[in-house]
Symmetry: none
Subunit: 221 residues, 4 copies
Amino acid sequence: MRMRQKAATNNSNHDKGNRSRPPGRPRSEAARVSILRSALNLLGKNGFAELTIEEVAADANVGKATVYRWWPHKAALIADAFASGATRRLHFPDTGSVDADMSQQMRQLIKVFRGRQGRIVSAILAGGQSDKELISAFRERFLWPRRQEAYTTLQRGIRRGELRKDIDKDLLLDSLYGPIYMRFLIRHDSLTAEFVDGLCGLVLGGARPRAKNRRRSTGLN
Amino acid sequence: MRMRQKAATNNSNHDKGNRSRPPGRPRSEAARVSILRSALNLLGKNGFAELTIEEVAADANVGKATVYRWWPHKAALIADAFASGATRRLHFPDTGSVDADMSQQMRQLIKVFRGRQGRIVSAILAGGQSDKELISAFRERFLWPRRQEAYTTLQRGIRRGELRKDIDKDLLLDSLYGPIYMRFLIRHDSLTAEFVDGLCGLVLGGARPRAKNRRRSTGLN
Amino acid sequence: MRMRQKAATNNSNHDKGNRSRPPGRPRSEAARVSILRSALNLLGKNGFAELTIEEVAADANVGKATVYRWWPHKAALIADAFASGATRRLHFPDTGSVDADMSQQMRQLIKVFRGRQGRIVSAILAGGQSDKELISAFRERFLWPRRQEAYTTLQRGIRRGELRKDIDKDLLLDSLYGPIYMRFLIRHDSLTAEFVDGLCGLVLGGARPRAKNRRRSTGLN
Amino acid sequence: MRMRQKAATNNSNHDKGNRSRPPGRPRSEAARVSILRSALNLLGKNGFAELTIEEVAADANVGKATVYRWWPHKAALIADAFASGATRRLHFPDTGSVDADMSQQMRQLIKVFRGRQGRIVSAILAGGQSDKELISAFRERFLWPRRQEAYTTLQRGIRRGELRKDIDKDLLLDSLYGPIYMRFLIRHDSLTAEFVDGLCGLVLGGARPRAKNRRRSTGLN
DNA sequence: CAATAATCGAGACGGTACGTCACGTCTTCTT
DNA sequence: AAGAAGACGTGACGTACCGTCTCGATTATTG
């Protein structure tokens, strides 16, 4: 979420002189990464509210103005830091079974949530409650990319007949991930692999194609 | 969440019901309610981070020290304000159908979340990410009381044969409420009555007693 | 500087029933002396500005209101405390020589100033700079009584021919004691017995009857 | 009384006259003088105890932190303000007569003491009773510089034969100025020109060379 | 012997100023 | 032009005392 020159900085090796760099000293890449790294470190130690730009700048051996020059908010800085340093190993496998695919990815997710990165995620979600840009950055940089993969995984399950054809994928994914986020944020119960398996069994169980000659009272719809 | 234990009701030093008060001027009930009311009002207008104790004290016509005398954190104050003014109308009905019971209560919940109180809940959950006491206050004052009722409701469903006998009630409730909390906090999708109904259908569908002669591999365990 | 009932309290043993005590619980003598003692103790440890009524009340095991009931100012309390616990051994001897009389008393004074009581005197003089009542209490309770004795002592010297008949006694006494107060308050030099002796020699030397046939340029008057 | 040593003039690390400044934004001279001026103004209106840093900062249109950045105490601020704006016109003349020299300067001093600056001096001396740094600042910035001049003036008197050769100059000066400080601080009598003249006559009278063939016992030593 | 009345301790009350901290902006010199 | 350094005005923080008040308990005199 750098504000200026972002494209120019990233694409400079493809420009080959046709778009000349602006005059003056170029942006220090060292300062940029140092700031982001410090932000992540400090965010991991305390929460969003406790993180101060002052501390980040000091920890990164950087002038405060340099932080403010490139990130308008604390939120923007954190979102950037999170997106940059983030999320390997959260890919979906293709085992031939939706249950296994989902369950394996969800197990990875709770490992992340329980680890150092979890502090950061919870800090972002906390900060996002009073900062629209931050929560939106979380959605766009973290949630949506994974959800795209999840759609594909679910689609495979539908094709294989493991899930109903008319299943609402967003509802299904929220039903699978919502409980994880809830336990992660409210901390009323533990995030274990058994929990993930039970969750998958329960929710995906409700998403299977209906048996031909089986009726039950809907009660609702 | 009064922080000091002054109440004579708790001390057992041979008082035998004459319930003596501690020495000194007793706490002003007027100040207490005025502070809580101001806190709720101001929290509804802005977010958690924007709320200042200074403003609360001024709005409540109260000395700042009086706020700090009884609530150690902004967090504790908000938790108390929320718990005191909070949560009527979140009771579970007894319609004769688990699906209907749960769905009706969950519809009430999303109404609360979308309303003025929602700001407060999200502020508490946000603040709770870096404040153990706050999140624990939320659990004990808000989550557990409702969950007790929910257990009863589910038990009725089990007795009526709508749910499996061996169902993990906590897992089931997290599966029902987790998606609501997730959408509420991440705001990636809307909290509608249709969402609640679909959610109930999906999750409770996975919690029904298994058909007699129909077994399928869960794919997980 | 007690505000009410002062006379009644002090003279009760002379009243012999003709002036009855007012109804209600009588003032606690124990509280009074405890407060004054605590005030002196704490004043000795820190200065006037650092002394708080809160601390005095706590140290004296007394309610804050009890202090405020009887002393309107911190200044009044301190003046009272100083006057009550004060000043033995500052009397003037009668040796037959003004020089000796004064010098002996002044030596006693610097001993007081250098001791525990000195802290209190300096605190009162300090506090008196922004509190007219305090400095006036110091004058009336401490300065004037001693000065009355000093007048007598000087008068003896005049009668004996050791001092000029027309000497301005106040000027002379200020010239003797001023340097002591100056060194005591500014602390630019030490308050020793030698200093006192030198001072007496110098100033009293200037106050002797003029030799008959000796003229010097006045230069001033 | 700047508390930090930033000035490049003092460091000797091979600067060879190019006098580099420390990094960062330099201290605002405008803020400094504005603060000192406000401090003097407000101190003149009320006393030392009534002066608040909050008020000084507001009056000077300056952040409170800026005051605290450069002056650790209210005391230090006042000492600085006094020393900066202080003390012209307290020089010693050279009239050819010690009596006249001293008396003229002392008359100037009592004018200062009776004026707006007097409030400040008394505030400093009061504050200095519980603040070693403050009283020491007064000595070094105010007392010593004048005393140096006074030594010279007395020396001239000795050379001219108006004073004894072996006179203790510090004792003599304390005897001259002590009474002024005493009356100034205790306010038991007025600081008039006549008082100054009488004082000089008395004390300097005791400091004249002794008549050749006239000895009398001092009565003391 | 009750009723009345002023005291006592304790400590909460609405305030005010404290001294600190971080904010986001700025001003300097260096790279 | 961007960098670090760090001072600036601003404003909330949480604390400490201020002087006042409201309690129950205590200790006297008065009816």
